[in-house]
Amino acid sequence: MAFYIARRLLATIPVLFVLSVIVFLIIYLIPGDPAAVMLGDGASPETIEALREQMGLNLPLLQQYGRWIGHALQGNLGDSLFMRQSVRAALAEHLGPTLSLAVLAELIAVVIALPLGIRAASRRGEAADKALTGFSLFGITVPGFVLSMFTVLLFSVQLKWLPVSGYKPLSAGLWTHLQYLILPALSLGIVQAALLARVVRSSMLDVLNESFVKTALAKGVGERGIVYRHVLHNSWLPILTVVGGSFGTLIAGAAVIESIFNIPGMGQLLVNSVQRRDYSVIQGVVLFVAFAYVLVNLVVDLLYAIVDPRVRLQ
């Protein structure tokens, strides 16, 4: 077990390294002098030179990367040029809404996908199964942000049931909090549910073909017993893996959705920073989300190995 964990941890290091190099190099994609571009027209050569010095642009490339990653590993992602605060503080401020949105969306996805996937697998080829095929096509075809604009049109503009946009933190009360989050989370969650339902179905089908299911059937275990006790029990792992892995996708999806609903999350921070050419914030957000994404996947993989010993032996 310890060996497996060590191996898995070691395998993560090169990924994180490459990932950080890519984020670091983003600055070098800027045509021309990054400092001049960031300060915009009308900046004096002295201020540009000062910023170059501050950003360490005059150092050799390797040394720049070393400096940057050294700071980043200590949690210092630099300062925002426009918000008069550190990137870390800005991230902390905007993390809450995005997490709320992603968790709620994931909940919605699980609540829709589990029953649908289970039903489709246990009654293969029947109505539920066909519905799932259609639903999963819907999920990969309709982008979350288009779906959310359509839901806004229906629920906020036509029916006026829910607010069009905005955000209230959890401290304003659970219902107020949810009222603002329900539409964006629903749009994200439905798209995610379509992908998840497919995984639930296929991992259940894999187990349904195992011989212990036949044994249970021969013993006279009822259909419910087989589906819920024998099959579902053995299908949890791939389902959980997908749930864990989808957080990254959800957070990225949230970035687009947040700008529709005017939710002050990390997506909005990112989009605003793109418009302001605030590159240290852009790098900070991307690095943070990608790191989190890799680490969540790592944790899920490790859990997987703890629960299912077969994984370790492979």
Binding site: P14, T141, P143, M149, V164, A255
Partner: protein, 329 residues
């Protein structure tokens, strides 16, 4: 083994390969039919195969619907300038925010521009970007995947880079790169290509890893074929059909990411009609001018649906075994 030794005298590898192919094609290698008879037989076989393929294609609902929709999208994209006879940039300030009606079938936007014309041009832009990105990321991914799968030491380097790129959620990486490069159609194509190369490279690599262990590759080594020859003539074909299927999904995915980026203002610069830009305009007027959201949104869904159905159908036709494996991105 006897066939291998007899090949010693073969003058070129080409001849050897041809001989191998021929003996695989016709089941009766031993009998002495005339070359003309053999050619006629082969022609018949090919015609039969084609007929079977057409029948399988027509029996596959998603392939048929997908191709039909795709054809529609292609026609619309090619004929966009002539279909309405209007200029997508022409401002008609008196007619701003007109709902759909006789004069403007899909209404007008906040500058009085004809929405139908802009949606047609937007669809064309989406199709163009999807096509270029699918093609270029397939080509790059093919090269990376083939050599990573074939050359051990390259595998370590190339796949670590691919893993690193793959660890980013696609939209996020694209936003960050576009922020640095600046919004333009060309830059968008470059960014999306980089974003989608890893998924293709992984796919090609895994099929190459399997194929290179096959006996026929070993035989080619024994015959003295060069590495490049083995990679391009013997490993590449094995990777081709999953690659084409994945390419069609990249096409769909690229269109979605393009729309999302343009929607956020990090994609195609503003006055150019792209579906993402149109939706972004629609967002501003969602209260009173819902048509500005509905029609570009529907157009986007139709284009992506066409590509997804087409890809599903292709997968069933080219690669029936992959049916259950599901889609990987």
């Amino acid at each position: 083994m006897t066939s291998l030794t007899s090949l010693d005298s073969a003058t070129s590898l080409d001849a050897a390969e041809d001989a191998a192919e021929n003996s695989a094609d016709s089941i009766t290698t031993a009998d002495e039919r005339s070359p003309a008879e053999l050619a006629a037989g082969r022609l018949r076989l090919r015609r039969e195969n084609r007929r079977l393929f057409v029948r399988r294609f027509l029996a596959n609902k998603s392939a048929v619907i997908g191709s039909a929709l795709l054809l529609l999208v292609a026609v619309v994209s090619l004929l966009a300038p002539w279909l309405t006879g209007r200029d997508p940039y022409a401002l008609e300030v008196a007619d701003r925010l007109k709902p759909p009606g006789a004069e403007y079938p899909l209404g007008t936007d906040n500058f009085g521009r004809d929405l139908l014309t802009r949606v047609l041009y937007g669809t064309r832009m989406s199709a163009e970007i999807g096509f270029v990105v699918a093609l270029s990321s397939s080509l790059l991914g093919l090269v990376v995947g083939l050599y990573a799968g074939y050359v051990k030491w390259l595998d370590q380097i190339l796949m670590r880079v691919m893993d690193g790129l793959f660890a980013f959620p696609a939209i996020l990486l694209a936003i960050a790169m576009m922020a640095a490069l600046g919004p333009s159609v060309g830059n968008l194509m470059i960014c999306l290509t980089i974003v989608f190369v890893p998924s293709i490279a992984r796919l090609v690599r895994s099929s190459t890893l399997v194929a290179k262990e096959q006996t026929y590759v070993e035989a080619m080594h024994a015959l003295g074929a060069s590495h490049n020859r083995i990679v391009w003539k013997h490993l590449m074909p094995a990777a081709l059909s999953p690659l084409i299927v994945q390419g069609s999904f990249v096409f769909a995915e690229a269109i979605i990411v393009e729309a999302a980026l343009s929607f956020l203002g990090a994609g195609i610069p503003a006055p150019t009609p792209s579906l993402g830009n149109l939706l972004s305009d629609g967002k501003l007027f969602i209260y009173n001018s819902s048509w500005m959201t509905i029609f570009p949104g529907l157009a986007l869904v139709v284009v992506v649906l066409a590509m997804n159905l087409f890809g599903d159908g292709l997968r069933d036709l080219l690669d029936p075994h992959a049916r259950r494996a599901g889609k990987k991105r």
